[in-house]
Amino acid sequence: MSTIQPTVPRTDLAEAAPKKRRSGLGTDRPNWPLTAILIVCSLAVIVPLLVTVNMSLKTTAQAVDGSAFTLPSPFSLQGFAEAWQLTNFPRGLAISAFITLVAVVGEIVISSLAAFAIVRNWDRRLFRWSFFYLLAAMFIPFPVVALPQVKLTGIVGLDNPIGVAILHIVFALAFNTLLFTAFLRSIPLSLEESMRVDGATTWQVFTRLIFPLLAPMSATVGIFAFLGSWNDFMMPSLITTNPELQTLPVLQQMFQTQFSNNYNIAFASYLMAMAPAIVVYILTQKWVISGLTQGAVKS
């Protein structure tokens, strides 16, 4: 589960940050010592990833000694081939992608609909109370309700990826509804009212006006949903009973004993499980960072 969800006043970081000057105050000279320190610090992020790549390219015979910093000789893709087969990577990828897709779409649709209903009927007690009821989920961590949940999902036949996706949606509901309601309150009613005068139904107002206006918030919700679902280990490992329907992170744990000291296979497997999210992030990073930073409530 994602542990930290940034919720901050809306600021377009990508635009605002470069305009700032802090320690180089009064001069336009870049602060080279600080840059150097940051580059050294960035090794803390880069080295574990390089080790992963490095180990995955070794042969089993070379990897077995467990030395992380010797270069592969010869280069070998054997680890990838074996990891692909052993963990049935395509199936794991498909299941992770399925859960993530359902969670992303479900979180955006269900939360935005609920937020719209709540904000437009705030004068009604039922909607106000529903809001606080949904918000209560922020105080209920998954471990608290996990045991009965696992029993219930088993009874109703949801001890599978669909059940996992539903739980991802539910546990993000409070946060997402909060984001959407905050954003909706800042949208003026006049547009909506003129649409209604022209005879638009509530459904048309939502689909043609509100939902498109919510796009930036939907992007933020979608990014969090993607990261939360794609990387989650706790829920799929407890909810899904059939090991053949497990997600990529859970597969890495299930195959720990089979990986054993075949570090090249293990790391090739880790790399294949990590890579999709990293590639998506690198390709869309400007968008992702502003989405992550974009926040809930205008103070």
């Binding site: 930290i4 990261l227 992550l292 926040g295």
Partner: protein, 318 residues
């Protein structure tokens, strides 16, 4: 469940007037308006999944916390005996102590580093975009997978370095040492959660007007004084929210620990979540539900503190 039935009731009573309403001018309709029934349909999915997936299990779990259920078959009510036993159970106490201590150390370490990185990344440096891209990467990597990578480093590379440098403590895996294993967990957890906190701090830092720093510079304030007198007070709300969010998150620690130590050596790094999940296999379902209820109370207390402290400041979520 009661919310849903009242939804259905309201839906019936308000159907007829709502159709008339769309013809009326919007402002008049808003004064004594009827709710368009479709709004109930909009709200219903959220309430339904929430009630079935959270409220219902929470109620069931609370019920079982007063029983001696092993997860199936017959059970009896045993009153508060589970709760009393919890406070005398050394394993449970250790899990709470470990988790609270771990959360405290991690929240301090992660926030200090995240804040320092945020200040540095909003300074006048080269390669800003590239560096920021790199520092956010841990956020997109699964906690358990990076834990496996670090487990390898802790088990192989660190001891090799320790032996080469002649440092006795480091010459074997710190994860196998029951007094040191928690350090590995703190490092990996901080590694993967720093970016989230860092982005919040960056968002806070960019809202500080440049003029403040310029004025301070003219007055001859040193870099350290500017940090102390301007930056820290201006982002105090962000520090607060990061601390509370982080602490609440770390209390749920599970993925990284499963990857690194699986609660060991022995039970030295068993977190609260892990101890609750033993209810699946340990034949003490009712007992662990009492554990979950206690954990819930702690979370609610933290949430109460959060609402108290952040009320009045910008209304943050989560």
């Amino acid at each position: 469940m009661s919310v849903q039935t009242s939804t259905a009731g309201r839906r019936r009573e308000s159907r007829a007037p709502a159709t008339a309403r769309s013809a009326a001018p919007a402002s008049a309709a808003r004064r004594r308006r009827r709710v368009d029934p479709i709004y109930y349909a909009f709200l219903f999915p959220a309430l339904a999944v929430f009630t079935l997936a959270i409220t219902l299990p929470a109620v069931i779990g609370f019920f079982y916390s007063f029983t001696n259920s092993v997860g199936f078959g017959d059970f009896e009510f045993i009153g508060l005996r589970n709760y009393i036993a919890l406070f005398r159970d050394p394993n449970i106490l250790q899990a709470y102590l470990f988790t609270l201590g771990f959360a405290l150390v991690t929240v301090i370490l992660a926030n200090v580093l995240a804040f320092a990185l945020a200040v540095a990344l909003t300074s006048r440096i080269r390669f800003r975009t590239t560096l920021r891209t790199i520092f956010v990467i841990p956020m997109v990597i699964s906690g358990i997978i990076i834990a496996f990578v670090f487990k390898f480093l802790f088990a192989n590379s660190l001891p090799a370095a320790g032996q080469a440098l002649g440092i006795g403590v480091l010459s074997e895996s710190i994860l196998a040492n029951e007094n040191l294993a928690w350090i590995g967990i703190v490092i990996v957890t901080a590694w993967s959660t720093i970016p989230g906190a860092m982005l919040i701090y960056i968002a806070g830092l960019v809202t500080i007007p440049d003029e403040l720093y310029e004025a301070a510079a003219i007055d001859g304030a040193s870099g350290w004084q500017r940090l102390q007198r301007i930056t820290l007070p201006m982002v105090s709300g962000f520090i607060l929210i990061n601390t509370i969010l982080g602490f609440k998150g770390y209390l749920n620690a599970y993925d990284v620990i499963v990857g690194l130590t699986d609660g060991g050596p022995g039970t030295a790094t068993t977190s609260i979540a892990m101890s609750i999940f033993k209810g699946f296999t340990g034949g003490d379902y009712g007992y662990q539900m009492a554990n979950a209820a206690v954990f819930f109370v702690i979370t609610v207390i933290l949430a109460g503190i959060q609402l108290r402290l952040t009320a009045g400041k910008a209304s943050f979520g989560a």
